[in-house]
């Protein structure tokens, strides 16, 4: 067996040329062939030390006591490990197997920054030999020692570790030449604790390795490493002399800024014999007594963060890019402590900056498995979930990490919250992924970003750029002013938080005010035709937001409710009305910017609500992009005017904020399109849809929209009228009269006025007039009128309601101003109509009654019954005794019916008497 040790030593001392070294290496390789029987591959020992600088005058290679100061630049960090060994057949020990890949995980928070450390070209390392290291000494950052056996002789070989020029895409690469180049990759444990891991891959099998010791220098250019630098380091250890570095003193290693917890190192490795079968082991740094030794002195760490928030467009109530720049000053002085790192960041955006619902139209979300927070894989979030970019500047890297901000899937994220984001930024093989919770104040929508347990990965700058433009996920405050972002930043070093803040101004688009545009009315302009009904209320960006509105439709635009099943109150309140009660749809546009998001829902007709005979339950699924904010139910009262039966819709408060998202409602578009539900008026007089909108700020705005109508004059009008009385009449009981008017269904003009002149023999009684209800009492509550003032009853059949309108006919005094009125108080389904009929004295001296303001609604039958009785309004003028009969008397009355379109029908009616005996035909 050749004496390779002698060969190597000789070569080293004689500065042999490379060719000779190659010969030695060949022999080395031959000798390295494994001869031991395989046992259990693994680590026999693992030690980890972080040492301070030795005292002046110490022996070369000596170190000081353990470094315990947090965030300090250690003198040297050493990981020493030995492999399991087994005695071979010849009785000598051999490592169980030959290590292939070794990954050394440095403690979390441990920083190794190769930035500004001189580098060695890779080719220089590859062309080196044990005897001639071709990398510049300035690039040396530590040493690699290993115990091996040469020709049966144990030997410890120590070689320098250099900072290599590394290809793009990796953090850094170290290398050593131990007869073969050994490359040591530097990476970050993405998906884990983001600590630094150094990895030796495909270690050469040139000799049995019993133990290795990896030492890295805290400040490579420190003069105290001169004795182990460059030529001063022989492969058997210190060769003597000083080999100073020309490089500037830059910190390479920085200890974590957290105190208390022990520093732990881990090793994960496999062997050439069993590649891929990794064994792992951890070790903590211990003191001389074997106790875990952590770091202390956190109170000495500086922590002076700053925040800056900027708006790309300082315009009120619009989507805008918003940048939040968190700056953590770093101390690059190798002789001083590094700054503290952020453990928890809470950033509260200014009041008024809120999630912009307008973004929901295009927004997607990222599921946890796509974010892959717990793995080293790149996130595969859908592009639609990207809501901005992130940039992280770390001393670990020469340039910033750049990446995306993704919207996390609501409810399906690490926080189970509605709002959360993932940050994913990458550079040079370092991939940082981070989840942050977003709390949206349920009342104000103010946003707070919370990043808990940020990795102990030093960074100097964290910039979150939320996208702007029409798809901006954030909206600016609705008003101008100065707005302040506040923070609460807690470092790893202490529980005390820093609270920097930053303000920006919003000084454009401060319009405010409240002048919404409005359109409303029937979709059809043809008189007497079926139509849909629309309402559209819009406001511009910057205007005050809607709170509620009320809209009154012109008389005659009547819903035919007879065929609609009314939604019960419980279902209406819960937003679970049956489709049978659906009458239309509603779209509510929400969000700032030119492309608001439309929430679309259904409109259901309900029974009585809020004192109104009918109501609306506008049920809007709050599904916006990835968000399901539940079902929003907006209620409205539907009043029917007791005079002209026009409809008034009065909404409750519109939804202002949903789960912390201020809706900034821009547009409310209501369409009632149930077929056959609405019929247009038959009176073409100029009419308007009018109303009032109320803003959240308390402003009011009048709403007005013309409701043009044509074709009224072409509508026919052919009502039929009948009148009858009871034959029997008495002095005390008076006489009866029944009047029936039928207006054939179909496209007919509606009745506008009915005028009847009582027969001279069937006149009103003074006693009834005297018992009329006082005007004031009637106005306040007809039911308070004396019973004697009820002189009859009326029934009006209309398709507008499911049941006929019925009610009493009151004789109501008008004082000295006019003859009393005959007022019909009609009720059905909560609708109350008051139809006044004025009394007058006709030219013929008789009393005539005119119902001059009958609502412009289809009336298929109108019946007025003035019965006999003690309060009968009518009496027989011919009576001179107790009783009498109309059977032999001819009663004639005049009636005139005026249509809504101006057509007039006059009739002279024979009042038939009921109850008369049939005339017997005389026998021939």
């Amino acid at each position: 067996m050749p004496n390779l040790r002698a060969c190597l030593i000789t070569a080293a001392h004689a500065r042999w040329r490379r060719s000779l070294g190659a010969v030695c290496a060949a022999a080395f390789l031959v000798l390295a062939a494994p001869v031991a029987t395989q046992a259990s591959f693994g680590l026999k020992s693992l030690d980890f030390s972080v040492d301070s600088a030795p005292s002046l005058g110490a022996e070369p290679g000596a170190v000081g006591p353990p470094e315990v100061q947090a965030a300090a630049r250690p003198y040297q960090v050493t990981v020493t490990f030995s492999f399991n060994q087994t005695a071979d057949s010849e009785g000598s020990t051999q490592p169980d197997e030959d290590p292939k890949d070794i990954q050394i995980g440095l403690p979390s928070g441990f920083i190794g920054s190769l930035v500004d450390i001189p580098q060695c070209p890779r080719v220089s390392l590859e062309s080196s030999s044990l005897f001639e290291q071709k990398c510049p000494a300035d690039a040396q950052v530590g040493t690699l020692a290993f115990d091996t056996m040469l020709a049966g002789v144990p030997i410890k070989i120590t070689v320098p570790i250099f900072n290599l020029e590394h290809p793009p895409g990796v953090v850094g690469e170290l290398g050593a030449f131990a007869n073969m180049p050994v490359f040591i990759g530097v990476g970050v444990r993405t998906g884990g604790d983001y600590g630094v891991t150094v990895s030796m891959r495909n270690l050469p099998q040139v000799a049995p390795v019993f133990a290795e010791s990896l030492s890295l220098w805290g400040v490579p250019a420190d003069e105290r490493h001169d004795s182990l630098r460059g030529e001063c380091l022989g492969f058997e250890g210190v060769s003597g002399g000083d080999c100073p570095s020309d490089a500037s003193r830059k910190p390479f290693l920085t200890l974590p800024g957290a105190c208390g917890k022990p520093l732990q190192v881990s090793i994960r490795m496999d062997s050439w014999q069993q590649p891929g079968e990794f064994v792992e082991r951890t070790a903590v740094r211990e003191d001389l007594e074997g106790k875990a030794l952590g770091l202390s002195g956190c109170g000495r760490l500086a922590f002076d963060p700053a925040i800056e928030t900027k708006l790309a467009s300082p315009t009120a109530d619009t989507g805008s890019a918003i940048a939040a720049h968190l700056h953590i000053p770093q101390n690059e002085n190798p002789d001083e402590l590094a700054g503290a790192d952020v453990r928890r960041a809470v950033v509260t955006l200014p009041p008024g900056v809120s999630i912009n619902p307008a973004a929901a139209g295009w927004l997607g979300s990222c599921r946890p498995e796509e974010a892959a927070l717990d793995s080293s894989a790149r996130p595969s979030c859908p592009p639609s979930s990207g809501i901005g970019s992130v940039e992280i500047v770390s001393p670990l890297l020469e340039g910033p990490l750049q990446g995306q901000i993704y919207l996390a899937a609501p409810g399906d994220n690490p926080f189970k919250s509605v709002f959360a984001v993932y940050l994913a930024a990458e550079r040079d093989g370092v991939l940082v992924k981070l989840a942050g919770r977003i709390d949206a104040d349920p009342d104000t929508g103010q946003l707070t970003l919370v990043f808990d347990d940020m990795p102990e990965l030093s960074f100097s700058d964290l910039v979150l750029n939320f996208d702007g433009g029409p798809r901006s996920p954030l909206a600016t405050p609705p008003r101008c002013g100065t707005f302040t972002t506040t923070t609460r930043l807690t470092p790893y070093s202490t529980s005390s938080a820093a609270t920097p803040s930053s303000s920006f101004a919003v000084d454009r688009g401060c319009g405010g005010g409240f002048s919404p545009s409005f359109q409303g009315g029937a979709a059809s302009t043809l008189a007497g035709a079926g139509t849909a009904l629309t309402l559209r209320l819009s406001r511009a960006d910057g205007e005050e937001t809607f709170r509620s509105f009320s809209v009154a439709f012109p008389p005659g635009l009547a819903p035919l409710l007879g065929g609609v099943a009314l939604c019960a109150e419980a279902q209406a309140a819960a937003g679970s009305c049956d489709p049978a009660s659906r009458i239309g749809s509603i779209a509510i546009a929400a969000g700032a910017g030119p492309n608001p998001f439309y929430f679309v829902g259904s409109v259901f007709l309900t029974g009585p609500y809020g004192g109104a005979p009918f109501g609306l339950s506008m049920t809007i699924p709050g599904v916006a992009g990835p968000f399901d904010l539940g079902v929003v139910v907006v209620r409205a009262r539907v009043f029917v005017d007791p005079g002209d039966a026009h409809l008034t819709i009065v909404t409750d408060s519109l939804p202002r904020i949903l789960q912390g998202i201020p809706l900034r409602v821009r547009d409310v578009h209501l369409v009632v399109d149930r077929p056959g539900l609405f019929v247009t008026p038959t009176n073409c007089d100029s009419r308007w849809v009018s109303g009032v909108a109320l803003s959240e700020a308390g402003s009011t705005a009048s709403l007005s929209s013309p409701a043009p109508l044509t074709g009224c004059s072409e509508l026919p009008f052919s009502p039929r009228i009948y009148a009858s009385t009871n034959a029997r009449v008495t002095r005390t009981g008076g006489a009866a009269l029944k009047l029936v008017i039928r207006n054939p269904p179909g496209e007919q003009a509606n009745i506008h006025a009915i005028s009847i002149e009582f027969p001279r023999r069937l006149s009103p009684r003074l006693s009834a007039i005297q018992a009329a209800c006082a005007e004031g009492a009637f106005a306040s509550e007809p039911a308070s009128c004396p019973p004697a003032s009820v002189v009859g009853e009326a029934t009006v059949s209309t398709p507008v309601l499911g049941t006929p309108l019925r009610g009493p006919a009151y004789l109501v005094s008008r004082g000295r101003d006019a003859l009393p009125q005959l007022v019909l108080v009609l009720r059905a389904q909560g609708v109350v109509l008051r139809v006044p009929g004025s009394l007058r004295i006709s030219d013929a001296g008789s009393i005539a009654a005119t119902f001059g303001s009958i609502p412009d609604t289809p009336i298929s039958r109108f019946a007025l019954r003035l019965p006999r009785g003690p309060h009968s309004v009518l009496g027989a003028g011919f009576l001179s005794g107790i009783r009498g009969s109309f059977c032999e008397r001819k009663l004639t009355m005049h009636a005139q019916i005026l249509a809504q379109n101006g057509l007039r029908v006059r009739r002279s009616l024979r009042v038939s008497a009921t109850g008369c005996a049939r005339k017997q035909s005389s026998p021939k």
Binding site: S763, R765, L766, E775, G815, R816, S846, G877, S880
Partner: protein, 246 residues
């Protein structure tokens, strides 16, 4: 038939007091004969004034004329009967005369002019005074029956009998105007009357004895006088002279 119409301005100091014209008539007009006395008045508002409601009218017959010697009103009727049954409910022999009346109520611009036939009935004496009932049968434009009670008084200072007729308030609708009588004409006496008596188990119609005309006509004729009071406190007086028969 000679008729004298003498309107007398109201004694009330109010300039707007109404003016009443009284008209009297005798038929036949023959001294010492039984006659039918017709008395009528017409109320008009004073210049620029409104027409207040008439609350009382007293018609004084000339001296020597009264109901004492008549056979008018051999039976009586009552107010309830009149209201419930009408004139047909009263005995023929309670009817002592007929007439007409006109009342009105102003509802703003519209004035309700009610015309009524009047039937006059004898009723039970009130305080031992002969008492008559005026039944107003208003039918057009509203059915408005009204009964006024009139006592026949003979004051010591007064030369003749006086028919005093208080008129109650006649309301219309609540807070509405009251109905006021603006014209009234009544004929009391046998003219147009037919009473019946049973003779040998048969009903025989006959004319009752009317009011007797004195046998001597005072100079200037028979003077009828009327005093009228209104609800607003004003009053008016009127006279009507029936010339002596020639």
């Amino acid at each position: 038939l000679a008729v004298a119409l003498v309107p007398v301005a109201a004694a009330s100091p109010a300039a707007a007091s109404p003016v009443v014209a009284l008209k009297a008539e005798l038929q036949p007009k023959k001294l010492g004969a039984s006659t039918t006395v017709s008395l009528g008045f017409h109320v008009t508002p004073g210049p620029g004034g409104d027409l207040p409601s008439l609350s009382n009218f007293a018609l004084r017959l000339p001296s020597g004329m009264g109901f004492a010697a008549t056979t008018l009103g051999l039976a009586t009727c009552s107010t309830p009967v009149l209201f419930t049954e009408g004139p047909d409910g009263c005995p023929h022999e309670s009817v002592i005369g007929f007439g007409t009346a006109q009342a009105q109520a102003a509802f703003g611009a519209q004035v309700l002019h009610e015309r009524a036939r009047v039937s006059i009935f004898m009723t039970r004496p009130v305080d031992q005074h002969t008492t008559a009932l005026f039944y107003f049968d208003g039918r057009t434009p509203v059915i408005a029956p009204l009964v006024l009670q009139s006592e026949v008084l003979t004051p010591k200072q007064s030369p003749g009998s006086v028919l005093t007729t208080p008129i109650p308030s006649i309301p219309t609708a609540p807070d509405g105007p009251e109905i006021t009588i603006v014209a009234f004409r009544a004929s009391i006496g046998p003219r147009r009357l037919r009473y019946f008596k049973r003779v040998h188990h048969r009903l025989v119609a006959y004319r009752p004895e009317g009011i007797g005309i004195p046998t001597v006509c005072p100079r200037g004729g028979f003077v009828f006088a009327g005093e009228f009071r209104f609800q607003d406190g004003s009053h008016a007086a009127a006279k009507s002279r029936v010339p002596c028969p020639t």
